[in-house]
C-alpha cells in the first residue's frame, strides 16, 4: 500500500486551490480505475469508508468504493469559502470533523492569524491532525497549501506548520505557498509574506512557491496557443461544438495549475513506473543545505488540462500536444516557471525531472544531455539531476514533465519581497496592527532569517559557480 499524504488547506487561497486539487485528483484516479474499485493508489489521498465513516479494510484493488473521504483538513477563519466547498460537488469528500473555521477572519494580519487564531484553535486543529494521522498506516508527508499575502493562510498556516514539526518531526512537511504579486490588493501582504517566509525557512522541509503573476501569464499563453491551433484547423461546426469547455474564471485556471503541480509531484508515490520518486527522495536530492529548501517548479504537458474537465471526461484538445524536445525546452524557459524567475540565467544547485506517461529512456537521456549544455550547475555536482518516470500519464495528455529546481534565482524573488517589505517598514506603516500581537523585534528576526537565506544563495552563486575540470570517471577495463 502506498504511503499516505495529509493535505492542510489554510485560508481562502489555500482552500480554493485545495478544492481544485481534489477535483482533479478524483478525475485522475477515475480515469485510471475502470472497475471503480478502491485501488491502492487511491489510499495516498483518500479513505474508503462505510456509511458510518469507518474505514473499509485494506485497499486491495478489489473492494468497491463505498464513500470516499479525503485525507485533508480545511482551515479558514471565515466561513464563506468553506461553506461553498461543502455545498459544491466535492463537499462529500469532507465531513464536519475535517473543518476548522471561525467567523471574523484574520483581517489580512499575519500576527492575528499566528498569535490569536493559531493558539485559539491549537487544540482543535492538533486533535484533528492526530485523528487524521491515526487513520494512516504509513504517513509520509503533510502538504500545506496557503497564500502568504493574507492573514489566515500566512499566520494560521505557519503556526500549524511549526506545531506539525514539534509533534510529528519524522513526517515531511511540504509547503506550496502562493507569493503575492507586486500589485496585490492586500496592502500588508509584504509584511505577511516576510513574517511567513521566516517560518517556512525554519519549519518546512521543502517549499514549492507559486506566484500569481507567473500563473496568470502561463494561463494567458496557453489560451492564446490553443486559440491559434483551433483556428488553424478547419473545424466543422460539429467539431466546434464537440470541443472541450473553456474554464471561465482566470482564478480557476490558475488554481488548476497549482493543483496539477501537486498531482504530478505525487504521481510516483501513487502509481507504478519504471523509475519511482518518492517525496522523501525529493528532499534528499534537492536540498543540499538545510535552509536552502526553496524549489522552483515548471510544468509542461499537463498544463494543457487548463480547461475544466467536464464530468463526462471529454478529452482535451489533441491538436496541441508537445513532443519530448518541446517539453524539455519549455521546462527550462522562463515562460513556464510557476514563479516569476528565469532559472536558466542563474546557478542550479540541483534539478529534478519528473516525467509521466509515454516517454522513452533514450529521449530523456538525449534531451537531458542537450539542455544540460545550456545550464549552469554547481561545480561540485555538474550532473546534479534526479530523474523519475511514472508510467501513468496525466489526465487527457499522453505525457508531461514537471521540473523542480533548486536555483539561486529564488534569492532575487526574496530580495524583491524584502524590498516591498522595507518600503512599508521604513515608514512603520500599518505596524500597529501587528504590534498588538507581537513585539516589533519579531519583524527584525524575520528579516534576519530571510537575509540569511538570501546570503546563502548569493554565496552559492559566487563560490560554487564557475567551471571545474570534470574528474576522471573510473574506467572499467574488460
Amino acid at each position: 500500500m502506498p504511503r499516505e499524504l495529509i493535505t492542510l488547506q489554510v485560508g481562502q487561497c489555500g482552500n480554493q486551490i485545495g478544492c481544485k486539487f481534489w477535483d482533479l485528483a478524483l478525475h485522475e484516479h477515475a480515469a485510471n480505475n475502470a472497475q471503480a474499485t478502491f485501488q491502492p493508489s487511491m489510499s495516498t489521498f483518500f479513505r474508503n469508508v462505510d456509511a458510518g465513516g469507518r474505514d473499509v479494510g485494506m485497499p486491495t484493488g478489489t473492494a468497491p468504493i463505498q464513500f470516499l473521504k479525503a485525507r485533508a483538513l480545511l482551515v479558514d477563519m471565515e466561513q464563506g469559502v468553506l461553506d461553498q466547498v461543502m455545498k459544491g460537488h466535492i463537499g462529500e469528500l469532507f465531513d464536519g470533523r475535517q473543518l476548522i473555521s471561525d467567523v471574523s477572519g484574520a483581517g489580512n494580519n499575519w500576527a492575528r492569524g499566528f498569535c490569536h487564531y493559531g493558539p485559539k484553535y491549537h487544540d482543535t486543529i492538533m486533535e484533528k491532525v492526530r485523528h487524521a494521522v491515526e487513520q494512516c498506516d504509513s504517513l509520509q508527508c503533510f502538504m500545506l497549501i496557503h497564500s502568504l499575502g493574507g492573514g489566515t493562510g500566512s499566520g494560521v498556516g505557519t503556526y500549524v506548520l511549526q506545531h506539525l514539526q514539534d509533534e510529528f518531526p519524522n513526517v515531511y512537511r511540504f509547503v506550496t505557498p502562493v507569493f503575492p504579486s507586486e500589485d496585490d490588493d492586500v496592502v500588508t501582504s509584504p509584511y505577511n509574506s516576510i513574517l511567513s517566509l521566516a517560518q517556512l525557512i525554519d519549519h518546512a522541509d521543502c517549499v514549492l512557491p507559486l506566484c500569481n503573476d507567473a500563473l496568470s501569464e502561463i494561463c494567458a499563453k496557453v489560451s492564446t496557443e490553443e486559440d491559434k491551433c483551433r483556428r488553424s484547423f478547419s473545424a466543422s461546426a460539429a467539431q466546434k461544438s464537440a470541443g472541450p469547455q473553456e474554464v471561465g474564471k482566470p482564478w480557476e485556471r490558475m488554481n488548476m495549475l497549482a493543483a496539477q503541480l501537486l498531482l504530478d509531484l505525487t504521481c510516483s508515490m501513487r502509481f507504478e513506473g519504471p523509475l519511482n520518486v518518492d517525496l522523501n527522495e525529493v528532499t534528499m536530492n534537492m536540498v543540499p543545505y538545510p535552509r536552502m529548501h526553496f524549489l522552483i517548479s515548471s510544468l509542461t504537458g499537463s498544463i494543457m488540462n487548463l480547461r475544466d474537465t467536464p464530468a463526462g471526461g471529454q478529452p482535451a484538445s489533441h491538436y496541441y500536444l508537445r513532443n519530448m524536445s518541446q517539453l524539455f525546452s519549455d521546462a527550462f524557459s522562463r515562460d513556464y516557471q510557476l514563479i516569476t524567475a528565469d532559472p536558466k540565467q542563474d546557478l542550479y544547485l540541483a534539478s529534478a525531472l519528473l516525467l509521466r506517461g509515454d516517454v522513452d529512456m533514450a529521449d530523456i537521456r538525449q534531451n537531458l544531455a542537450r539542455v544540460q549544455r545550456g545550464l549552469r550547475f554547481v561545480r561540485w555536482n555538474p550532473e546534479g539531476w534526479k530523474v523519475g518516470h511514472c508510467a501513468v500519464p496525466p489526465l487527457n495528455q499522453p505525457r508531461s514533465l514537471l521540473c523542480i529546481a533548486n536555483n539561486c534565482c529564488i534569492a532575487d524573488t526574496f530580495t524583491e519581497l524584502r524590498a516591498r517589505f522595507m518600503r512599508l517598514y521604513k515608514r512603520k506603516a500599518h505596524l500597529h496592527h501587528y504590534t498588538e500581537f507581537v513585539e516589533q523585534d519579531h519583524f527584525e528576526q524575520s528579516l534576519r532569517a530571510v537575509d540569511d537565506v538570501i546570503g546563502l544563495y548569493d554565496d552559492a552563486r559566487t563560490s560554487y559557480g564557475g567551471d571545474m575540470a570534470p574528474p576522471k570517471r573510473l574506467q572499467v577495463v574488460c
Binding site: 504511503r3 519511482n276 518518492d278
Partner: protein, 271 residues
Amino acid sequence: MAVRPVVATVQLGQCGNQLGLELHDTLLREAAASGDAAFLRDTQETFFRTTETTSSSQGKLVARAVLVDTEPKVVEGVMETARRSKGWQYDARNAYHQQGGAANNWSFGYKHLGPTVWSNVADMIRREFEAADMVGGVLLLGSLAGGTGSGVGTYVTEMLRSEYRKSLLLNGVVWPYSTGEVIVQNYNVCLSLSHVMQDTDGVIMIENDHIHDICTKLLHINHVTFSSMNSVISQHLANILLPSNRCYATSSSCSNHVKSRERTSRRSFLN
C-alpha cells in the same frame, strides 16, 4: 544424477527487482532455446526449484529468489508479472517490503533499514538453502545510485558474508548514468563499493551508459526503455551464470570463473 550447487538471488530495490525478474526469465529462455534437456534441467535446478505436485495443483517452477524493497509497489508488481505472464513464479513467502522508502540515502538504508530488513530476509535465504542439496552462493542485484540497493544491499552483503563464510557471494551492481540519475549518486556509489569490497567475492559491473549504448548503437533499438536495458543486462549476466561446460558434475562455471580471477587480484571486479 550429479548434485548441482544452487544460487539464491537477492533482488534489492526497484532496479534489483526489475532486473531480477528479467534475469530469471532470460536464464530459463536461454536454457530452453539450447535444445539440450540436461542443460535446461541443470539451469532449472541451479536457479529454480519445483514445488510438489498435489492432488489440486501441478508442481510449479519457483525462483530461488528473495525480493526486498523499502516500498511496496515494485515487489508486488514484479511478483504479479511473474505469476501472470511467465512459466515460473516467485515464492510469496520470499517477498519483504517496507513502506517508507530509503530516500536515496545510503546511510539510512545501511544503518537504519538494513538491520530490520536482514532480520526478515535471513530466514528466507536460509529456507532456500535448506531446500537445496548443495549451496553454491548468493547473487545480489541492485543499483548503486539509490538507497535500497546501495545501503540495504551493503548491509545484507555484510550479513551474508558473516552467515555463509564459505559460500560464493557475487554482487551485480548497476552504475547510474554519468549524465545524472540521482543527485547524491556519487555518495551512494562510493559508500557502497567501499564496504562491499571487503566482503564480496566479485562485483559484476553494469553501467547504464554502456548498456544504453548497446541498445542504441549495436541493437538499433529506437525506443530504449528500462525493460530493453534489463534484457541486455540479463543476457550479459546469463553469459556468466549459465553452466558453460558440459561437465555438470563439477562445480558451477560461475564460481570457477571467480576463483580464476582471484588468483590474479585480491578482489574481482567483473565486467
